[in-house]
Amino acid sequence: MQSTTLILLLGFMATAAFYFGRGRSLSLVGGPGHGTALHSLPGYYGYYVAIWVAIPALALLLLWVMVEPKLIVTLVVSGLPEAYRDLSPGELNLLINNIQNLASGDVVSVAVDETLQAAANQFNQYAAQSRQILAVLALGFAGLGGAIAWRRIHPDLRARNRVERVIRWFLIAASSIAIFTTVGIVLSVLFEAIRFFQKVPITEFLFGLNWSPQMAIRADQVGSSGSFGAVPLFTGTLLVTAIAMVVAVPVGLMTAIYLAEYSSARVRATAKPLLEVLAGIPTVVYGFFAALTVAPWVRQAGESVGLEVASESALAAGLVMGIMIIPLVSSLSDDAINAVPTAMRDGALGLGSTRSETMTKVILPAALPGIVGGILLAVSRAIGETMIVVMAAGLAANLTANPFEAVTTVTVQIVTLLVGDQEFDSAKTLAAFALGLMLFVVTLFLNVIGLNVVRKYREQYD
């Protein structure tokens, strides 16, 4: 039986169990009119039985799916002739792959001989058996669970409490998924980064001023010397981010102030959705807008006043990134300004403040935590932004603070490092993980600062 069929069947059983459970609870106390004699609402008894039907069976199914492939492979391998069992792990892996492919009817990389065919047949046979056993066991579990729960139903059974406890565990499991994923990503990046630091000293990575990620494949290769100093990448990132923030913060903030305090309801109703459209443009579109429109324009404008501007400049990338971030800053600031109580606004106006005095002296200070939080989020976004800088900022790892030169950023380098034909354990590839780790640490640091600023001011102002 297919797993999907099995799951559907279990779902059907659980639904049926719900109605049976509810019916039984009511019949125990003498019909629907006497529901108050039950500890919980009749529906909870239904859910209680349904949970007992579905959860043990589904748990078994999950466990089976995790264990089954390994078990079958072990069984198949143990059935192979002596000669095959002495193969190296790599070759054995290949063999198993071939057997699996043969079994499922895919392309096989070696000539099919009798042993291989036999092993594939064996594999299919085991798989079929496994599915049968699973179906029987799962339905058995479901039936057994249902029967136990059915027998336990009693007017004094605290069904609601039990159902709610199960629900609570589900909620805990759901919220752990995001946390465990984060932890998993951090750990995997961390371990790869540690492998990188075994090849390249961490001090060179953190303080080196040269970035030229090469690794010799052969010892006598030309240009085999590489250097992994990440400083130019981080200054490049900082430069582009700074330019982006210089554009986004004032424009976004002023937009928010206008929309929240000065605009009429009609302007607001049109302008807000339009701004949100800006936030919805894919970054790749911004990227070629930056590379094809803004960068040449910046170059021409620079040349007309006698400045040397590279065709891929930090300025062009930063400007476009800033425009991309405006909606983020303005909508978060707008929320923060709107969250300031009207009482505060009235208080200031009632003392004879003008609108602008009210804004600058009372509302902005009160909304500051929200605004700062929004800006830090925007900074994190700018640091992590990839597409625009890949297209518009260039690849040259210049250590410069001149916005007219081409710079490269951490994210751009991660992309280029991983889009190569290098082995996965070469220092060049591993450098991407080290950069990723650094980037993560920086954004984490910013978020922690941001949260603390927000918390500190919140305590003070509310």
Binding site: A348, G352, Q460
Partner: protein, 306 residues
């Protein structure tokens, strides 16, 4: 028509029938005190009974109407507010007393849909005249709100805010002086003089409200509007604020909106009773509470209208 509307706000079932059956029973008895009231007045004729005039009028509202969009919130209200007196505005929720209060310093300007007609004069000059800057008006007619709303600043800066924006102090010493005097007059100085740098929000509710009063008088207004200033405070803090009003009315005209009849009786010299956007009755406080002339006023102060 009017009666249908009445039932909506009435909490007591007995009231509406009483109203319809006995129109103008009480007012006829004492015609001398309300010469402007026609003898056969109906329950909500729009005419105000009692005496809207006072001895030394400082603010005069004449035939004021307020509309919020299509909602006619205040109807033909005329009222005089005297110098150095406390006048209390009472009435059931939604009767327009706060709206009227907000007309007096043009706070309704900040509400997009609000429209005010009629004339309000301050010291003989129309507050809606073209040259009148609403900002300057609000400096002369200060306001204290229902919920204490100190700014997210230090106690000192809260009080110094008004003098700073209006440039009332030439230097720091003068500003210090204004802040201290205002806190002193608001009865708060003793409690806060050692912690003027702490945020205003760190004070208790009653202290915050006195801080807001200090902030208002720091601008040296001529009229103070108070919109239920004690509704968020406990009885002790309320008593302090009421004492404060007693002292302040020696220099300022005070208009207070309140839901507490006891408070109105304690602090005010005159009382105005609003009902469904109409000013029903105005008179000396004693007379309103001992011998109200309008049926609705009597019902309200005896607790028959919510």
């Amino acid at each position: 028509m009017k009666m249908t509307a009445m039932t909506d706000v009435t909490t007591d079932n007995q009231t509406p029938p009483t109203l319809t059956e006995e129109p103008a029973a009480a007012p006829v008895a004492e015609p001398i005190q309300m010469p402007q009231v026609p003898e056969q007045e109906t329950e909500l004729s729009g005419e105000t009974v009692g005496n809207i005039h006072c001895e030394n009028p400082f603010m005069i509202a004449n035939d004021v109407n307020v509309y919020y969009g299509d909602n006619h919130a205040i109807k033909n209200v005329s009222l005089e507010i005297g110098k150095k007196e406390v006048i209390a505005l009472i009435g059931p929720s939604g009767c327009g007393k706060s709206t009227f209060l907000r007309c007096l310093n043009r706070m309704n300007d900040t509400i997009e849909t609000a429209r005010v007609t009629g004339q309000i004069t301050l010291d003989g000059k129309d507050i809606h005249r073209k040259e009148q800057d609403p900002v300057a008006l609000r400096a002369r007619v200060g306001m204290v709100f229902q919920k204490p709303n100190p700014f997210p600043k230090s106690i000192y800066d809260n009080v110094a805010y008004g003098p700073r924006i209006h440039g009332l102090a030439a230097d720091r010493a003068e500003l210090d002086d204004i802040v201290h005097t205002s806190l002193e007059r608001a009865g708060l100085l003793k409690e806060v003089k050692d912690r003027l740098d702490e945020p205003g929000t760190s004070l208790s509710g009653g202290q915050q409200q006195r801080l807001c009063i200090a902030r208002t008088i720091a601008v040296n207004p001529e009229v103070i509007l108070m919109d239920e200033p004690c509704s968020a405070l406990d009885p002790i803090a309320t008593a302090r604020i009421e004492d404060l009003m007693d002292e302040l009315c020696e220099d300022y005209a005070i208009v207070i909106v309140t839901h507490s009849m006891q408070q109105a009786a304690r602090v005010s010299r005159r009382v105005a009773y609003f009902h469904l956007g109409l000013l029903v009755e105005v008179d000396e406080t004693d007379r309103i509470f001992t011998n109200p002339q309008h049926r609705l006023t009597e019902d309200y102060i005896t607790g028959r209208i919510g």
